[in-house]
């Protein structure tokens, strides 16, 4: 029987980002009723409607040159998936999906709230860079991309 994975004692900036986003989305869960929120890449069973918060990349901030000093520019992708069978008609399901996307954008637009929910270090700023919509089989999906700038806590 494999031994359980040890609890992490420290987290990378991407993990801090995902956990902070999850905390902020949990605070605003009333804006996404019936929608589960997952973070990053996990082995959990995922059921639509779902929102996935994924900090897919962190790069040392270019404005600080060769010494980023724990400052990062992060790319965060927020996936919103809904099923066309979640409502009486596909039109209603699509409307509900777009309302979820709008709710996600509203949650992310409150940058001051997100800064307050940041779990370690400091979030400087967050802004949306793209919103792409698609459909596959009987699922609607959007990918919202955000840029965040954050720093680790001091030593």
């Amino acid at each position: 029987m494999p031994s359980p994975a040890p609890s992490p004692t420290s987290f990378g900036i991407r993990t801090i980002t995902e956990q902070s986003l999850a905390a902020w989305f949990a605070t605003n869960s009333d804006m996404l009723p019936g929608t589960t929120v997952h973070i990053g890449q996990t082995g959990e069973i995922r059921v639509v409607p779902i929102v996935i918060l994924y900090a897919d990349a962190a790069n040392g901030h270019p404005e600080l040159g060769a010494k980023p000093s724990g400052n990062f520019e992060l790319s965060v992708k927020i996936y919103v998936y809904s099923s066309a069978d979640d409502a009486d008609t596909t039109e209603l399901a699509l409307t509900a999906h777009r309302e979820r996307v709008e709710a996600v954008q509203a949650i992310m637009q409150d940058v001051d709230g997100l800064k307050g929910a940041w779990t370690a270090g400091t979030l400087y700023q967050a802004w949306i860079t793209s919103d792409e919509e698609g459909i596959a089989d009987r699922r609607y999906g959007n990918v919202l991309t955000y840029s965040l700038v954050a720093v680790y806590p001091p030593a």
Partner: protein, 112 residues
């Protein structure tokens, strides 16, 4: 057959020092003589040149630290063992980037 030779020549890299209110990004140090007197001969050719009153001008740019306080014009600031007088300060920011501060200093030959 001899193996290819590998070699390197080290160069001076990056900055001379640091600063306590910014994370320094660049420096620029120039030296010149404030007095440059030339004597020409009858045909206009320089036959004597007198250089005096060395002036060192420095420009330092960096990202302002959260805890940093920007010094004032006229304050002294030492960098690379040169103690200069602050003559010009630029404090620039954008809505999605760090604040950049640029300080210009002058060191006069006869002012310690």
């Amino acid at each position: 057959m001899a193996l290819p030779q590998t070699f390197g020549i080290a160069h001076k890299f990056a900055l001379y020092g640091t600063s306590d209110f910014v994370t320094l990004q660049s420096d620029d140090i120039s030296k010149k003589a404030a007095l440059d007197v030339e004597v020409t001969d009858e045909t206009g050719r320089v036959i004597t040149d007198r250089l005096d009153d060395e002036r060192i001008e420095m420009s330092l740019s960096g990202v302002l630290l959260e805890s940093g306080t920007i010094p004032a014009i006229g304050d002294r600031l030492e960098y690379n063992s040169i103690n200069g007088i602050i003559k010009d300060i630029s404090d620039a920011g954008t809505n999605n980037g760090f604040r950049k501060v640029t300080i210009k200093l002058v060191k006069y030959q006869e002012i310690a």
